[in-house]
Subunit: 203 residues, 2 copies
């Protein structure tokens, strides 16, 4: 019996959907589908309806591009944020990483990717125009460039630093180096070079 | 910012649903939810609607209890199966494991669990009555008891063997021993005892 005939078609379809998720292989998708079959019908219905409406429910913040339930996101709406600092991230999914660290109290700007000529992605595909408008409105003291420290991330950061050099805003780049808790013996050469280059005085 | 405020509520809800799946922790659920947000709206809707209808679409075979798209399952309907052999499994989810092995051509009977007094599950909670009716109809030559080889599985198999002893049907139990491909050095005592007890002549 071929693999495709092992499960009824309706289950087969569910397995197909689940195995499109990142890190979910065929076997795991089968296990998840069978587990879902055990859920109370009511819960399955809620889950399914929520999923079907997901794109309507999760909006993009009109100010910063963060994921949001409303027109503007919880961070932009919050009265407790430091409104003179803007942290530029590649995607909205990176904002929770900063928020969980609890170390950043400023606002964000989601770039919508990075400059990647090989994927045909240029500056005009990013939200650089909107970022310029935010900066030109005034009130921003510091622009933190938080692209990932790889080739395209560095290129994007360099481009932005050049683009906004004349606006009188302090432009900084997040530090790159050996991750906290990591064993130095396993650090790669590029990371070590970065860590050495970014060394600071201790006393 | 508390963890719960990091994502918009609608995404938070999705993460909640996803983390109820087996083997999906909080972090993985977040990753999956963000990946789902990237899906085309059309696909999300299909996935969601399918999920919401899952329990209506996946039926239980009226003959054997297998998962099915129709009143009776593909195996019971198939003209190519060996109808004189019945393999008793605990749950419908175990049938694909047999089917994928390609070694079994008979029919199945889903017991709906096993005898587990500690969970308050007795013989009356299983489909033993239906199994008896199938056996009494005649035509079955062999009943293979394929419960898992643990305490409750063995107890259930012993119970069924006793229950159907008088029906003139050959009752067998699947072999238990060292798994194919496993290193004998890591076999536990109970498995080795089972493997030794079930040894067979080679020539």
């Amino acid at each position: 019996m071929p693999d495709s005939a092992v499960y009824p078609q309706s289950l087969q379809r569910l397995i197909g959907f689940l195995s499109r998720l990142p890190g979910i292989g065929r076997r795991t998708a089968e296990r998840l589908a069978l587990a879902l079959l055990e859920w109370p019908e009511e819960d399955l219905r809620h889950f399914g309806e929520h999923l079907a409406r997901l794109r309507q429910e999760v909006k993009t913040c009109a100010l910063c591009g963060n994921l949001s339930d409303e027109e503007t996101c919880a961070i932009c709406r919050s009265p407790g944020r430091q409104v003179d600092t803007l942290c530029v991230v590649e995607t909205a999914a990176q904002i929770p990483v900063f928020e969980k660290s609890g170390c950043y109290r400023g606002l964000y700007h989601v770039l919508g990717g990075r400059i990647a000529p090989l994927q045909g992605k240029g500056p005009e595909d990013l939200t650089i125009g909107a970022l310029r408008r935010r900066l030109e409105q005034g009130g921003i003291q510091e622009l933190i460039l938080a692209m990932s420290p790889d080739v395209e991330g560095e290129a994007t950061a360099a481009f932005l630093a050049g683009e906004f050099a004349g606006l009188g805003v302090r432009i900084t780049r997040i530090a790159s180096g050996v991750p906290v808790g990591a064993d130095l013996s396993y650090a790669d050469a590029a990371t070590l070079a970065s860590a050495l280059g970014g060394r600071h005085a201790m006393r």
